[in-house]
Structures are given as structure tokens and as C-alpha cells.
């Protein structure tokens, strides 16, 4: 059942961060996951929104970070219009990356955010696809 959630997001197949969505890095019961597809996302000009939030220890954080960085290699470019990224102390803090190999007229993005809570790390991962540009998404979701 769990695997079927991930596989149902066909364009997401092949990404390394799927290991996280599938519970191979952190057990599924410690992940808060949402998958929204289709007309529900029409107001955001998106077709797929898949999110996962989890609490990770230092080792798990490094593993997730590594998986995300592997997927980042498929980014469309380093241009600000296609990605934004911030690192601290040699670790990825947050990143929003537009991926290559999108279907015509559709953009694919992966996002990562890690918050240091001293005893653990709050990690958020997002996969999304749709016609919305990164500028559109910033405008829609950035808190005022």
C-alpha cells in the first residue's frame, strides 16, 4: 500500500529521495506524508504535490541529504530562476530545485529543508510537478 502511493506518482519514479517517501530511511510511522494530485491542485497550477516531514537523527539526516544531493544533479541549471539553495557548516539547510526531463510544459521540483532542533532534525521533503514556475510558487507560498 505504501509503495503504491509513491509509484502512483509516476514522474517521481527514479528519484533517490523516493527511499525516504517509501520509509527506507526512516520508518513510515515516523513520517507525516501527504500526496495530492489532480484537480485539487488546480489553484496552484500544479498536478502533483507529494510531501514528507520527518524527525531524523544525525545519521539519517546525512543519508537524506545525500539522497537529495544525488537528485540535485538532475537540476535544470544553477540559475536563480530554476533553483535556490542554502548550506550551513557543510550541510544542506534548504533547497528548491527544478529538475530536467520534464514533460512538455510541465515543471518538476524537489525541495528540502532541514531544521536543527539540537537533539534531532526536522526534515521536510517535497516533490511537485505542474505548470507553475518557481516564481509562481514563491509568490503563492512565501509567507508575508
Amino acid at each position: 500500500m505504501l509503495i503504491s502511493i509513491v509509484l502512483s506518482v509516476s514522474a517521481q519514479e527514479g528519484l533517490r529521495i523516493n527511499d525516504v517517501f517509501e520509509g527506507e530511511v526512516i520508518a513510515k510511522q515516523f513520517i507525516q506524508e501527504s500526496l495530492v494530485k489532480g484537480d485539487n491542485l488546480a489553484p496552484y497550477n500544479l498536478k502533483v504535490l507529494h510531501t514528507a516531514k520527518c524527525i531524523a537523527n544525525a545519521k539519517e539526516r546525512v543519508t537524506i541529504e545525500h539522497l537529495f544531493e544525488e537528485d540535485m544533479k538532475e537540476r535544470i541549471s544553477d540559475d536563480d530562476s530554476n533553483m535556490e539553495m542554502e548550506s550551513r557548516d557543510g550541510h544542506l539547510y534548504y533547497a528548491i530545485v527544478q529538475l530536467k526531463n520534464s514533460a512538455r510544459g510541465t515543471h518538476r521540483y524537489i525541495c528540502y529543508q532541514c531544521r536543527d532542533r539540537s537533539s534531532h532534525y526536522d526534515i521536510t521533503l517535497v516533490y511537485m510537478e505542474g505548470k507553475a514556475s518557481l516564481a509562481d510558487l514563491r509568490k503563492t507560498f512565501k509567507k508575508k
Binding site: 500500500m1 505504501l2 502511493i5 502512483s8 513510515k28 510511522q29 513520517i31 507525516q32 506524508e33 501527504s34 500526496l35 495530492v36 494530485k37 489532480g38 484537480d39 485539487n40 498536478k47 502533483v48 504535490l49 510531501t51 516531514k53 542554502e86 534548504y94 528548491i96 525541495c111 528540502y112 529543508q113 531544521r115 536543527d116 532542533r117 539540537s118 521536510t124 517535497v126 511537485m128 510558487l137 514563491r138 503563492t140 507560498f141 512565501k142 509567507k143
Partner: protein, 150 residues
């Protein structure tokens, strides 16, 4: 009605295209056998002689066979090849048609090890995750993380 008058009536019907096979046979026999034709009917005798030579008339039995309706079994074409071809065409259309591009709608949340088919919850979780990332945390949270002062 004497014979000649009858023949003239049959000729009229023949020229109008109204003759039956029996009437036609009667005309042919008359013009073939009658020796003492009235002068105005002589050309008809020649006409029937020419027709007789050019196109031998089929027998009455043959004409009757032709005129009679064919038996239903003889006329019925076998339908199964057409049905089979239609089925193959339908299957080919289904298999070869490009897949529908329309994305199915779904909204699923997975919380505490349980899958919830709750659209509102799934939407809320998705929006919150995106707001956190695109806002990259608020300033207060960032400062507390930087200085490790929760």
C-alpha cells in the same frame, strides 16, 4: 376478340413494356408460325426474327427460376468474418489509442502510520510543507537555529 386483335393488343403491351412472359411467348409463336400476316404486322415478324437470332430466349423454366425469390439460406452472407473483423478493429483501437492524459484526482495523508483518505488534511499538510520551505522558516526560527537558543 379475334386472334389478330388480340395480337395487336399484345404488341401494344409489348411496346409499352408491359408484356408478361406468357404474352411474349404468345407473340413469338404467332410471328414465328403465322404465314398470312397483315401488311402492317410484317415488320414485327422481322423484328421478332432478329431478336430470336440475336438473343436466344431462355426457357420459361429458366425465366421462372430467375424471377422466383432465392431461398433465404442462399442469399444470407456469412456474418462471422465481419463480426470477427469488427472485434479485432475494436480491440486494436483500444490497445493502440494513446493513454488518457488527464490526471486522476486524489488526496491522501499518512499520519502516525495510518493512511487517511482525507482531502482537507492532505491539502493542509501539503500547503504547510510548501509554506515552510518557500518561507525558509521565519526570521525568529532562523536566528534561534543559528545561535542554538530554542
Amino acid at each position: 376478340m379475334d386472334k389478330e386483335t388480340n395480337i395487336r393488343e399484345l404488341l401494344r403491351r409489348y411496346m409499352e413494356g408491359e408484356s408478361t412472359q406468357a404474352e411474349l411467348r404468345q407473340l413469338r409463336e404467332y410471328f414465328n408460325c403465322e404465314q398470312d400476316l397483315p401488311a402492317d404486322l410484317a415488320p414485327y415478324a422481322q423484328m421478332f426474327a432478329i431478336i430470336e437470332e440475336a438473343t436466344p430466349m431462355p426457357s420459361v423454366e429458366a425465366l421462372d427460376r430467375f424471377a422466383s425469390p432465392l431461398k433465404a439460406e442462399q442469399r444470407r452472407l456469412p456474418l462471422w468474418p465481419f463480426i470477427a473483423a469488427a472485434c479485432i478493429a475494436a480491440i486494436a483501437v483500444i490497445l493502440l489509442a494513446p493513454p488518457q492524459q488527464k490526471e486522476e484526482s486524489m488526496a491522501i495523508a499518512y499520519v502516525d502510520g495510518k493512511m487517511l483518505n482525507d482531502k482537507a488534511q492532505a491539502m493542509r499538510m501539503g500547503q504547510e510543507a510548501l509554506q515552510e520551505i518557500f518561507s525558509n522558516g521565519n526570521q525568529e526560527e532562523q536566528l534561534s537555529e543559528l545561535f542554538n537558543t530554542p
